[in-house]
């Protein structure tokens, strides 16, 4: 019995945090969020690629490091902690998993090495596979795509998109005629979402042209599980940071002639944050491990993990803001960066209600 991060994973974590501190100090994070068009710090992304973490889910023969989802979780936790404006979810998790599961050898050889090197970016349109809002969704008619895909994460600056439609998943260049990308501004500026609109876009390059029925759906379900675990990791990293900031503030700020951290009210808020977060972190590690090693548990634990972390994250960021008093409500206070980051993580690819329902379906508990 050995439940925890490995020596290598701890080393990776430490290296990554140093790298992020150096390449992405918060002033830089704010600058990228405010000024950059695609919301990505290209230099930091390349540096991460050199470290081998962008290709952590890509096979070695395509230039990746063939790691586990737990490795990706270590990375995502650090990225959350740093509020990193990087397209990890889209280009390092969703796209590699789908290429790996469904791509032809030629497609894999074309895209995976470039993804691993941080030289290509691929965004995946999965929102409508989770739930369809209003009239969003894609229709395939005579080999052409019509309609829209919303909330496509890491889509600004992507070279190609992967979009499921009908029983297939299509590879679409960003420059395809009839394809338009409209920014969807959210509260979180550290990652960019867009709506893709399709006006008769030629759908002539499916992944897995010869996939067996159900294969595409299974691959998408698997990609969603991984994405949810990675989003949960982002929440854990964000919560770590919010708790660090709160404790540090409680130890500095004085009111009534004493440190606010000496008031039981404040002390208990911080203790409750830690008490909620630590078991949630254990659940996160378990869900990541299950994804690779426990097929029967993978989907359920990924689903519960994202749902639970979404709840923990929302409450924790609210409490952290309260500990900060009036300062916590300002833009100047860095805490708000994570308040908003967790706000996005929570809603993306299924919030708690959706995921609880999904968990019940997975266990055949719902009618």
């Amino acid at each position: 019995m050995d439940f925890g991060l490995s020596e290598e994973q701890r080393l990776l974590d430490a290296t990554l945090r140093r790298l992020l501190e150096e390449k992405l100090p918060l002033a830089r994070v704010r600058q990228v969020s405010a000024e950059s068009e695609d919301g990505v710090d290209e230099a930091a992304w390349r540096a991460l690629a050199e470290l081998g973490v962008v290709g952590c889910l890509i096979p070695e023969k395509q230039g990746g490091s063939a790691g586990t989802l737990l490795d990706a979780v270590v990375v995502a936790t650090a990225l959350g902690h740093g509020c990193a404006p990087l397209p990890f979810l889209g280009s390092a998790v969703l796209a590699p998993i789908l290429f790996d599961a469904l791509g032809s050898p030629a497609q894999q050889d074309e895209w995976l090495p470039r993804l691993a090197a941080g030289r290509a970016r691929v965004a995946v349109a999965l929102s409508e596979c989770v739930e369809r809002r209003d009239d969003a969704g894609l229709r395939l008619e005579a080999g052409r795509l019509h309609g829209s895909a919303r909330f496509v994460v890491d889509s600004a600056g992507a070279d190609v998109f992967l979009a499921p439609a009908g029983a297939a998943c299509f590879l679409l260049p960003a420059s395809a005629p009839g394809l338009e990308l409209r920014p969807m501004p959210t509260i979180d500026r550290s990652r960019r979402l867009s709506e893709l609109t399709f006006d008769g876009v030629a759908a002539d390059e499916p992944l897995a042209g010869d996939a067996a029925p159900g294969e595409v759906a299974a691959a998408i379900a698997r990609a969603l599980d991984a994405a949810r675990v990675v989003l949960a990791a982002d929440i854990v990293g964000s919560c770590d940071r919010a708790l660090e900031l709160s404790v540090a503030y409680a130890l500095t700020r004085e009111q009534f002639g004493r440190k606010i951290g000496s008031f039981q009210a404040v002390k208990h808020i911080c203790a409750e944050m830690a008490a909620a977060l630590e078991p949630a972190r254990s659940l996160l590690w378990y869900a990541a491990h299950a994804f690779d090693a426990l097929p029967a548990e993978a989907a359920l634990s990924a689903t519960l993990c994202k749902a639970h972390l979404s709840e923990v994250g929302r409450d924790l960021l609210r409490s952290a803001t309260e500990v900060h008093g009036g300062i916590g409500f300002t833009d100047e206070c860095d805490l708000q960066l994570w308040f908003k980051r967790v706000g996005l993580d929570r809603q993306l690819l299924g919030g708690p209600e959706r995921l609880y329902a999904h968990a019940a379906e997975l266990q055949h508990l719902s009618s």
């Binding site: 002639g257 008093g325 959706r354």
Partner: protein, 404 residues
């Protein structure tokens, strides 16, 4: 128990209803918070409301109000009918809602004549200069200094979190005038024209992206001594009058009712997989739980109103409105965000901006109100200590008689 209003009150309600119906076209558009632009439509509307006794009702005629006898039931009917009609109640803000009652209670005749009428008309906008970087929950430790030089008060120091200071003509502020007196005894309450030389206002951007509040710096700001309200060194007592009015304002049931109705429409109008979010049993259950709380707060307001009519002390029940109301509003915004799913993270600015993008604003703003005007933790201290008679937390430093 008698929930019906008297015939006279019902007649008043009918009259008000007819008035609102007939004058709907003259009402200004509603805004969430002050923008600094004086809206002539608002001033005209305010004038009309005062003439009819629907605004500044309890303010005596000689100070520009409607001069009616105080009647909390009438006040409630007015609040209900304007909310029902979704029409502006005229001028609002810290001037009319907090300063005017304070001046009427403690101000000199000259101060009442000079400041109340333009404030009531909506021509004079006020901000509240209480909090300082080092004095938030522990407000009485404030350090902005007021030195008396002949008939002038010379102010040096800094205020922070001052809402609407960037637009206001006047500030009501707390300053330390008696450096050697005990903490609470050294404070004075002063009215400061914002265009006095030496005042610098720096807007502070909040997490919502708006500048809802400011920092205000005082550098040898000279104000006539006659601008003190009450006596020198008695500012703390007077400030508590204003704070009482603030606490009644924050977390009011009418805000919760409005937010609840708005959350319900969001859930009705947004479709998930082709069905309204309201049909999702989990979301609907959460909405119903919040409806119960909203109704409880509405009933609670009736009960507190009755205490006021009977002249009874409300006890601990009178101390819980802000804590509950602000939390409830925050939860309603959180639910609406969840019901919108991924659309719940949209924020203003995009082509897709719609009512969906409002909820993230409410969510952050209501959290701000959980903190502002006395934090939730301070509210709990007040409930436990003043309401339930529990002792203060043992402390290393000298005991403090009054938390915010």
């Amino acid at each position: 128990m008698e929930l019906e209003y008297s015939a006279d009150h019902e007649a008043f309600r009918r009259m008000l209803r007819a008035f609102l119906e007939n004058n709907r076209a003259r009402a200004p558009r509603m805004r969430t918070f002050a923008s600094g632009v004086v809206d002539p439509a608002l001033l005209g509307w305010q004038k009309l409301l005062i003439e009819h006794g629907y605004a500044a009702r309890g303010v005596p005629r000689e100070y520009g109000g409607a001069g009616a006898d105080p009647d909390p039931l009438i006040a409630t009917i007015i609040a209900e009918e304007f909310a029902q009609a979704r029409l502006s109640r005229g001028v609002s803000g810290q001037g009319l809602d907090m300063l005017v009652p304070t001046l009427l209670e403690h101000g000199s005749e000259e101060q009442k004549r000079r400041y109340v009428p333009p404030t009531v008309r909506g021509e004079m906008l006020w901000c509240q200069g209480y909090s300082e970087p080092g004095a938030g929950s522990d407000l009485a430790s404030l350090r902005t200094r007021g030195r008396v030089e002949g008939d002038t008060l010379v102010m040096d120091g800094q205020k922070i979190w001052t809402s609407t200071a960037q637009f206001a003509q006047m500030m009501f502020a707390l300053v330390r005038t008696e450096a050697d007196a005990p903490k609470h005894a050294g404070i004075s309450y002063v009215l400061v024209p914002m265009d006095t030389p030496g005042i610098t206002v720096r807007p502070l951007k909040t997490m919502t992206g708006e500048a809802e509040f400011n920092e205000v710096f005082f550098d040898a700001v000279r104000v006539p001594l006659e601008n003190l309200v009450g006596k020198r060194g008695e500012g703390w007592k007077i400030a508590n009058t204003t704070l009482r009015h603030e606490r009644n304002m924050l977390g009011s049931a009418s805000t919760s009712v409005k937010l609840f109705e708005s959350a319900r429409s969001t859930m009705r109008e947004n479709r998930v997989d082709g069905r309204p979010a309201l049909e999702n049993p989990v979301l609907r259950g959460r909405l119903m739980a919040l409806q119960a709380k909203t109704l409880a707060m509405k009933c609670h307001a009736m009960r507190l109103l009755t205490c006021q009519l009977r002249g009874e002390a409300a006890g601990v029940a009178g101390l819980v409105t802000k804590l509950n109301g602000c939390q409830l509003n925050f939860d309603l915004a959180g639910l609406a965000i969840d019901a919108l799913g991924e659309a719940g993270i949209l924020y203003r600015g995009g082509a897709q901006s719609s009512e969906a993008t409002r909820w993230q604003f409410h969510y952050m703003f209501q959290l701000g109100l959980i903190i502002g005007g006395g934090t939730a933790q301070i509210q709990k201290n007040i409930i436990a200590e003043r309401g339930l008679g529990m002792p203060r937390e043992p402390r290393p430093a000298v005991p403090d008689p009054d938390a915010r």
